[in-house]
Symmetry: C2
Subunit: 189 residues, 2 copies
DNA sequence: TGCAAATACTTAAACCCTGTAAGTTTGGGA
DNA sequence: TCCCAAACTTACAGGGTTTAAGTATTTGCA
């Protein structure tokens, strides 16, 4: 029997794809091994354990998302940048629900520092350069934007908006209008 | 050996408590059975399966949260109501992380209709009575508020705000100020 | 009061998953 | 060529879910 050619990278990509198909929580070492026509134990030569695999998928997702966001942000500012960033974020979550779920797991401080996680915060800050916010206001706004984006995508994915006829895309668009207004009229402390 | 006195209700409460301790995803039929000094199989007389148990915990959490929110909202309006609601929401999530996680699982339409899920949307709408929003604007605002609350709590719980020294309570407070301003200056379509 | 039926619980077993240890195969380089 | 490191398998321990069948306990009613 020829070797299957398993590597940590191929494993991670396969896990990410599988997560998008069947859900991040349902990705198992066994299912992954089946996909490579290999026994489960074989994977432990390339990956420490399931947790390690999950962290790799999370890092993959964070990097992909940061790359897309960076591309979308290039040459844009103000509301233009805000909307572009928001769309990348939401589209990625819809297109890759498993990867998106992976990106939400808790990373230990060292991993988080190495990973693309800080690029996200940096880019959100970049968006705010088009508005006049500084110091703690900027941090508060970064947190608010991140929360709203993540919350919207997360509730939408969970089907929380399905029980109302109002178009979800339209609500999203209006939410962005509203956030733009908010950033331009950020209340003084 | 006397009977353990297991019922679906006691099981659900125990599962919710266990979820708050060790995480919703780590609640197992086996662990629960150990808590009642009973074999795992015994639980299947009271609960259909693990999924059924999870749904029950979700309904418990949604009801508890709706009850608290209703109490907090009584006699308040405008920003007062907004802030009270937001605090109940965030405090519940911090106090009962397992229950809160349970409340986020996808419920099938029938369960969702029966459950307290719609009471939440109703209450969020009630908050908006203090602001002048109607029709689709109201729905969009409900979605935005829900997203921001859930997103903030969810990111905070995941430790996403820990890498910055800015006080998380303070950011939350400022976010509420900002949302109040936003609802009073909701942009026209 | 006593006993039959309903209910609670146990035992047993099939099946799935994670992870470790030890053995075997494979392929590339000296 | 042959050796050795890496890739992979086998074997197994341990734990979880769930069903089926059997035993024990309680309830209710005659």
């Amino acid at each position: 029997m020829a070797r299957a050619g398993v590597t940590a990278e191929r494993l991670t990509r396969a896990a990410a794809d599988l997560a998008d198909e069947i859900g991040f929580q349902n990705v198992t070492v066994s299912a992954l091994a089946r996909g490579f026509d290999v026994k489960p134990a074989a994977l432990y030569a390339h990956v420490k354990d399931l947790q390690d695999l999950r962290i790799r998928v999370a890092e993959l997702a964070l990097t992909e998302l940061a790359d897309r966001a960076a591309a979308a942000l290039a040459g844009r500012s103000g509301k233009d940048a805000l909307v572009a960033f928001a769309h990348v974020y939401r589209d990625y979550a819809k297109q890759h629900p498993g990867r998106y779920a992976a990106a939400q797991i808790e990373l230990d401080p060292e991993t988080a520092a190495t990973s693309a996680a800080h690029r996200h915060a940096e880019m959100t800050r970049a968006i705010l350069r088009g508005y006049e916010l500084s110091g703690t206001d900027q941090t508060d706004a970064v947190r608010l934007l991140g929360s709203t984006f993540h919350g919207y995508v997360s509730l939408e994915t969970a089907g929380r908006f399905d029980r109302h006829p109002r178009d979800v895309d339209a609500s999203w668009s209006r939410a962005l209008d509203a956030l733009d207004v908010l950033l331009r009229h950020w209340p003084p402390a």
